[in-house]
């Protein structure tokens, strides 16, 4: 499944499927991008980051893709698990401070 935009949509996927969460960022001067995961009642937790001189970075079960031409960032989660259920935020930064998008809620159905 996929989601788009900086508002808070909900993406619902079946356990074991791949998830794609999208983010459109605003500042073309941003040099660094981070995806955070926020579980209910907890603070945001770092998942993966990418610098502007890259277009893809892979972690364990997660991949971040960056398209600077259209200012678009995506997070791909492979084999989504119930523990992946959370709100996911993209964040961008230049030299001043992180600017967060409003997040996407991922619900994993068993």
């Amino acid at each position: 499944g996929e989601s788009v935009g900086l508002h808070l949509p909900t993406l619902s996927v079946q356990e074991g499927d791949n998830s794609i969460i999208n983010c459109a960022y605003s500042n073309s001067a941003s040099d660094y991008f981070i995806w955070y995961k926020q579980e209910s009642g907890k603070g945001p937790q770092f998942i993966i980051d990418i610098r502007s001189n890259m277009d893809k970075r892979q972690g364990q079960r997660v991949t971040v893709l960056l398209n600077k031409t259209v200012k678009h960032l995506s997070l791909q989660i492979a084999a989504t698990q119930p523990g992946d259920s959370a709100v996911y935020f993209c964040a961008e930064t230049g030299r001043r401070a992180l600017t967060f998008g409003s997040g996407t809620r991922l619900q994993v159905q068993p």
């Binding site: 770092f46 930064t93 401070a97």
Partner: protein, 115 residues
């Protein structure tokens, strides 16, 4: 073992009161932050301190005053609380003042409810 801790976790208070939220990090980081998360989950930076020096002060009412007694602590004091202050407040820290290439570590949050 908690890297970034906040107290209290929940705070319920009446309009007009003054309250404080405390934050401590044991990561040895130089920079600490306060964020506000509204009911729609939107996270916005309020303040940033580097080695006890204020480096970011976004458009926040002057009823909010951060205080950093040392680089491991950043407290948030709020005067004359208003209904609109109800939110979850997150403290965070990072290794240096430059947000570039620096992961921020977040505390568990303080849910403030103003009645």
């Amino acid at each position: 073992d908690t890297a970034v801790s906040q107290t209290p976790k929940y705070l319920v208070t009446q309009m007009g009161n003054d309250k404080s939220i405390k934050c401590e990090q044991n990561l040895g980081h130089d920079t600490m932050y306060w964020y506000k998360q509204d009911s729609k989950k939107f996270l916005k930076i309020m303040f940033s301190y580097n080695n006890k020096e204020l480096i970011i002060n976004e458009t926040v009412p002057n009823r909010f005053s951060p205080k950093s007694p040392d680089k491991a602590h950043l407290n948030l004091h709020i005067n004359s609380l208003e209904l609109g202050d109800s939110a979850v407040y997150f403290c965070a820290s990072s290794p240096s003042r430059e947000p570039l290439y620096n992961e921020q570590f977040f505390g568990p949050g303080t849910r403030l409810t103003v009645l």
